[in-house]
């Protein structure tokens, strides 16, 4: 069987990192950072946590690169969705209303 078996030690480390990330994100939420930094920090921590789950709990680190490509395709699709829709809404004030 060519399937890679991940040892529990790895799972424990990732699990503790996820709990730590949750604590940090809740703690940091109460600090008032300048501008949009609060959202940036919150989303950065969330993306790191999700990446750890995907790579280790979901075994993508040990899977064929085809799986990684499919995930990349999903993220690319979301990027298009957000980029085009937000750029539409955020620039509506630029057009004069007759």
């Amino acid at each position: 069987m060519s399937e890679h078996i991940v040892y529990p030690r790895v799972y424990v480390v990732i699990f503790l990192a996820l709990l730590a990330g949750t604590g940090v994100t809740a703690w940091v939420a109460f600090f008032n950072f300048p501008g949009p930094l609060n959202v940036v920090v919150a989303l950065t921590i969330a993306v790191i946590k999700a990446t750890l789950v995907i790579l280790y709990f979901m075994h993508v680190r040990y899977s064929p690169r085809l799986i990684a490509l499919i995930i990349a395709a999903a993220l690319f699709w979301m990027a298009i969705l957000f980029a085009f829709t937000i750029s539409d809404y955020s620039t509506r004030a630029w057009l004069p209303i007759s």
């Binding site: 991940v6 969330a46 709990f57 979901m58 979301m78 969705l81």
Partner: protein, 242 residues
Amino acid sequence: MPEDLATTHEHATAHSALQHHFENMEQQRAAATLGMWVFLVTEIMFFGGMFLAYALYRYKYPVAFALASNHLDIKLGAINTAVLIVSSFTMAMAVFSTQIGKRRNSIIFLLMTMALGLTFLGIKAIEYYDKYRDSLIPGTLIPGRPFNPDVHELHLLPGMPIGNVELFYWIYFAMTGMHALHMIIGVGIMTVITILAVRGRFSPEYHAPVEISGLYWHFVDIVWIFLFPLLYLLGRHLEGHL
């Protein structure tokens, strides 16, 4: 091990779970994993749309959203996040136990995962009940109890339309409700997997169903990992200054 039988006429000694259109168990497992990932991509599209709605309306009404978000129970939200993270750990351990043939351990970890999933749903139910009690369920979904922020001292700022705050709760209930539905389905799937595990269906040679059910469970966890900061934490840095 009969996995390497590439010819199509040797199925008398092939694994009992090997389907006729696959050459060996490894190929079948890889195909199952690929199929589940493609399904998860459709789920990303599904939740992605709702995250977009959240992003747009938060961009449009930032103060109203912060005000509304601060009335969510951050303690319950954080506990639920921890509950799901632990459940992802026990799910990964369940897959590992099946991979090394430890059937008893795998059943214990599967049951722990399900218990944690039900804990999450129980805490969610408490939160939903609190929203009902405080008349924060949007629109007229509850007959005789329309959306009324003043019941829980969610005082609108001067000039702030009630609809902006109500919109946050529409999005909150839509997203957490859809997530909870996925959680319920996940517990249902795990029930089936646990029953099959008890019956001795899985082994180091055949455990793809456990693995791909785990992929679904981890995905539901990832959605919550994003929901928690975006719904519960967005206005905490402004608490007291709104």
